[in-house]
Structure formats: C-alpha cells, structure tokens
C-alpha cells in the first residue's frame, strides 16, 4: 500500500491520532503535498460521504473522519501553497433567522470544507443583513448555503433567498438550500440555485455549482 493510500485509509477510519504522523512520513518520503491533500484526504472524504449517503456509516463515523482529515491538514499546511486547502473558494453557510437548529447545517459545513472549500459558518438564527454583510466582507465568496429545519421557518428561508436575489452581487454567487422540510420544488420556487438532501450530496452540489 502506498503512503497516500495509507493516509486515505486512516482518514476513512477516523484515526486522527495516526494521520498526522503518516502525512509527515509521506512528505519525508517525497510525496507531492497536493497529491497527499487531494488523493489522501479529499478523495477519502468523498468516499466517506458516499458511504454516509448509502447508510453504510453514520454521523459519528463521518465526524471522526473529518477530524482525522483536519489533523492531517494541520501537518500538511506548511508544505502547501497558500489557499490550497480552500481551493474551491469561499462558501458562507447559515441557519436562517428564527431557526436555532444546526446539526444538519454543521454536517453540511464539515463535508463542504472537507471537499476543498473555505467555509464561513455564521451559525444559527442568522438575519439577512448579517449574511449580506458577510458577503460584502468576503466578495470572493462563491456560494451561500442556507438551512431551515422547521416548517415555520421556511418563510424565513424564502425571505432570505428573495433578499439575496435582489442584491447586485447575486449573479456572482450561487445559493443552495437544505433542511428536513425543504424539497427540490420549494428550492426552485423560492429561486435558489440548488438543493441537496444530505451533507454528502451538499458537498457534491457545491462542487457542481462552482464548476458550472
């Protein structure tokens, strides 16, 4: 097994305490840092996401894998060019105003970060103004991702997307939405660019949106 394959396996199994050492060994052996990142970690997390999507593994296993990747990236970062870990661009994520739920949103943030985005997480119960302000502070943002869990906060999601749709910068970004009661039809109806039903699909969607 190659060193990079070994790293991928450690990430998939969530072995945070072993990944850092393996990454250092790979570097010492002359492996290309970007190959370690892309093939050893990002690809491994894609496998984790797929297994999660297929109900072969569950949230804890996904979390430990993401934590293992983070440990590996910490060791790898000094050897990478600036920006390599968030190469796909910035993504702002938030649970909309009035909604305090964040388990799903956090999983989405984690998977998207693991896919190669720089994630700015604004937390829960986030007013429209704060999202717009955050974009203005980060005008290189590629995607804004919004979550709502309750039927009673679906109108808030609608309002937030409507407000973004009215901004001058709207054509420069993509808006994706999700959450338990949200459907593809609702996402289209409110004018979002994308919808996904789980964290792994959200990472895939984010990648598709930036490559479109």
């Amino acid at each position: 097994m190659s060193k990079i394959q070994e790293i991928a396996e450690l990430v998939e199994k969530g072995k945070a305490k072993l990944v850092g050492k393996a990454v250092q060994e790979a570097i010492d052996e002359g492996c290309e840092p970007t190959a370690i990142l892309n093939e050893g970690m990002i690809d491994a997390m894609a496998v984790v996401g797929e297994r999660f999507k297929n109900n072969e593994i569950f949230v804890p296993e996904m979390l430990v894998a993401a934590r293992a990747m983070k440990k590996g990236v910490e060791v790898l970062k000094p050897y990478l060019a600036t920006g390599a870990t968030g190469a796909l661009g910035k993504l702002i994520i938030a649970t909309v105003a009035g909604d305090l739920h964040d388990i799903g949103k956090n999983l989405v943030a984690m998977m998207i970060e693991s896919a190669g985005f720089e994630v700015i997480d604004l937390g829960v119960d986030v007013p429209i103004e704060k999202i717009v302000e955050c974009y203005k502070e980060n005008p290189d943002t590629k995607i804004i991702a919004l979550s709502a869990l309750l039927t009673t906060t679906m109108p808030s999601l609608r309002d937030t997307v409507a407000a973004l749709n009215g901004e001058d910068f709207r054509s420069d970004i993509k808006v994706m939405v999700g959450g338990a009661p949200i459907t593809r039809e609702f996402a289209e109806e409110i004018g979002a660019d994308g919808y996904s039903e789980d964290a792994a699909s959200a990472a895939t969607l984010a990648k598709e949106l930036v490559s479109a």
Binding site: F58, V59, L63, H101, I103, T151, T152
Partner: protein
C-alpha cells in the same frame, strides 16, 4: 369503549371501536388559535373539546436553576441551564475538553438529586386534575442520549462514542441514574393513576439513523431499558419517542420492551405506514403518522381525513392517531386538527 379501554386495546393490538387519538403538545404559539377555533379558553378545555383520549402531565421539577425535568442539567455550569447562547445541541458542554475518565471526574459536575426538586405531592396534584376517563400520560422524556450529547457538545460526544466510549458511558450512567430516580418518585406518588409514560431520544434524521444500530444498542438502549422496566413494574405502558427515520432502530426498541413507537415521522425515509406494518405488525404499537412537515401545514381538511382513513386501513388497531410530531406548530390550521380528530373518531361499519 372509553379512552382507557381504547388505549389498552390499542397497545395490546386488540379490536377497538375506533383509534385512540392524541393531539400531542402544541407549541405555546399554536395554542391560542386552536383554542379560538374550538371556542375554549384553556389547553385542557381544548383537549376535551376535540375529544383527545389523553391527558398529558409534565413531571413537575423545580430547582434553583430550572423548572423542567428535561432541563435539569446545567451542562454549561453557568447557572442558567437553557440560556439562549447554548440552546443549540451542538454548543460545547462542560465535558467538551475531556480526554479521559480522569478528566470527566475532574469536571466535578454538580449532579442534581431529583428528590430535592420533585415534589411527590405536586405530582399527585397534577395527575389528580386529569379527567377520570382520560389516559394519563406522564411526559418524562428522560432523553439521556440527547443529554449526554449536550454534556460534551453533540459533535464531540458522537466522536467520543466511537473513539473514547468509556467517557460517554461514565456521564450517561449518571444521567440515567438521575432519570431512574425521578421516574420512581413520579410513579410512586401517582401509583395506579398513570397509564403511560413518554420517554425518548431523537436518533433519526429525515433520511436515516444519525448513529448506527450498533451504537444505539450500546448507548441508547440500556438506559431506555432501565426506565421501561421501572414503568412496567408499576403497570405503566411506555410510549417511546424519536423524531426522524428510525425504522432500523425499532427492532431494538421492541426488544427493550417499548409498547408504542412515537411519532411515525411520516415523510422520513422508511416510516411510511405500509412499511411499518410489513415489518412490525403484531410486535409493537404506534402513535402518530399524520404528517406535520407538509400535510397538516399545507393540506386541506379533506386530505387530512384521507390520510387518517389510510392509516386506519393499515392499522385497524395498534395505532394512536396523532400528528407526526407532538409539538404542533403555529402554521398548522386548526381546521386540519379538527379534520384529524373527526376522522379518527368516526366509528366505521
């Protein structure tokens, strides 16, 4: 049949005149509109007016820092228990930084003693207020898995379940011991007057279990089983709540002795009535099934009635008709709740 006879027949999956039905516990913002619609002033009057078979009693709990059993633990050790900043499940709890058992003990968490904060007389008084013919259901919750998640912070806890399970067990054992004691106080004080309790832990998401069946078996079931055994020792039935798609956890709950599964989150993966009937008919009863994620919010009364008819078709007995989440939100039109009760209460030929 009266409400109690109907309930017991449902739990034992014997013939019923019509299904038992339960409104659940609407959110405080939903209650005024429902009361107005039914022309009553209070929630209890509302339940009588709509023909609810149940009378829910929250286990009374009053400590210096909180007034609800479900908020008994001050996981942030700041004396507020449910402060806004920490209202998300994923906020770090006081055990967040622990790396081993010694760390867990070093936190020196002030474990509350339910004996100090549950007044048996108040338990008795609240239960005595129930109408004679209604099924009294004690809302115990005892969400020990959710509590242990909050104690560490949910993500940290879920990771610890895989990587450092003994730390999670150490905290969970204390939580379960607290709820065991609380439940005994409640049931001892109300002996013979409570027919059911509701306990539970959210384990499902819209599309599947959050944690694997193996982790449920290790971390959720043992605590649940202790509480179920206590309830059964008092002749009290157990309704077990978990939001989401839990179809793959139901066999474990059946094995633990659960009498009814609540709330059949209708739109969650695998929770459709035909699937539940095919998999679990004759093994356990259900409570819920009338979708709150779309149907009750956006549907017409006729659509709600059709759903209740469909549910009754699948479950001529063994189902308590109820919204698919106990906390009806303010966006549910009261006319749809009435449609639910009207159809559930019809005596079919």
């Amino acid at each position: 049949m009266n409400s109690k006879e109907r309930f017991y027949a449902t739990i034992e999956r014997k013939p019923v005149d019509r299904p038992a039905c339960w409104m659940g516990m609407p959110t405080p913002t939903a209650i005024p509109e429902l009361c107005k619609f039914y022309g009553v002033d209070t929630f209890n009057e509302l339940k009588v007016a709509c023909g609810d078979d149940f009378y829910a009693v929250e286990v009374p709990y009053k400590s210096p820092t909180c007034s609800a059993l479900y908020a008994a633990f001050d996981w942030y050790m700041n004396g507020t228990n449910v402060d806004t900043e920490h209202r998300t499940l994923t906020a770090d709890g006081c055990f967040a930084e622990c790396e081993d058992i010694e760390d867990v003990e070093a936190v020196n968490f002030p474990w509350p003693d339910p004996e100090l904060y549950i007044d048996p007389e108040e338990c008795k008084r609240l239960v005595d207020e129930a109408p004679e013919d209604k099924v009294v259901i004690g809302m115990v919750w005892a969400c020990h898995f959710q509590d242990v998640c909050a104690a560490f912070g949910m993500q940290t806890c879920l990771m610890n379940m895989v990587a450092e399970p003994e730390m999670v067990h150490a905290v969970d054992d204390k939580i379960v011991a607290f709820y065991e004691k609380a439940l005994k106080i409640f049931l001892e004080a109300t002996k013979g007057k409570v027919q059911a309790i509701l306990i539970g832990d959210d384990m499902g998401s819209q599309r599947g279990l959050m944690i694997s069946p193996a982790l449920i078996e290790e971390f959720v079931i043992p605590g649940a089983k202790k509480l179920i055994d206590i309830a059964h020792s008092y002749g009290v039935k157990v309704v077990y709540h978990s939001c989401g798609s839990i179809v793959d956890a139901i066999p474990l709950l059946i094995e633990a002795g659960v009498d009814a599964i609540h709330p059949i989150q209708a739109l969650a993966a695998g929770m459709q009535p035909d699937n539940l009937k095919a998999k679990f008919e004759g093994q356990v009863s259900f409570c819920g099934g009338v979708d709150t994620q779309d149907l009750l919010v956006n549907g017409t009364p006729e659509m709600v009635k059709d759903k209740v008819k469909e549910l009754r078709g699948y479950f001529p007995t063994g189902l308590i008709v109820s919204p698919s989440h106990e906390a009806i939100q303010s966006d549910v039109p009261p006319v749809n709740i009435k449609a639910l009760f009207d159809e559930a209460q019809k005596i079919y030929d």
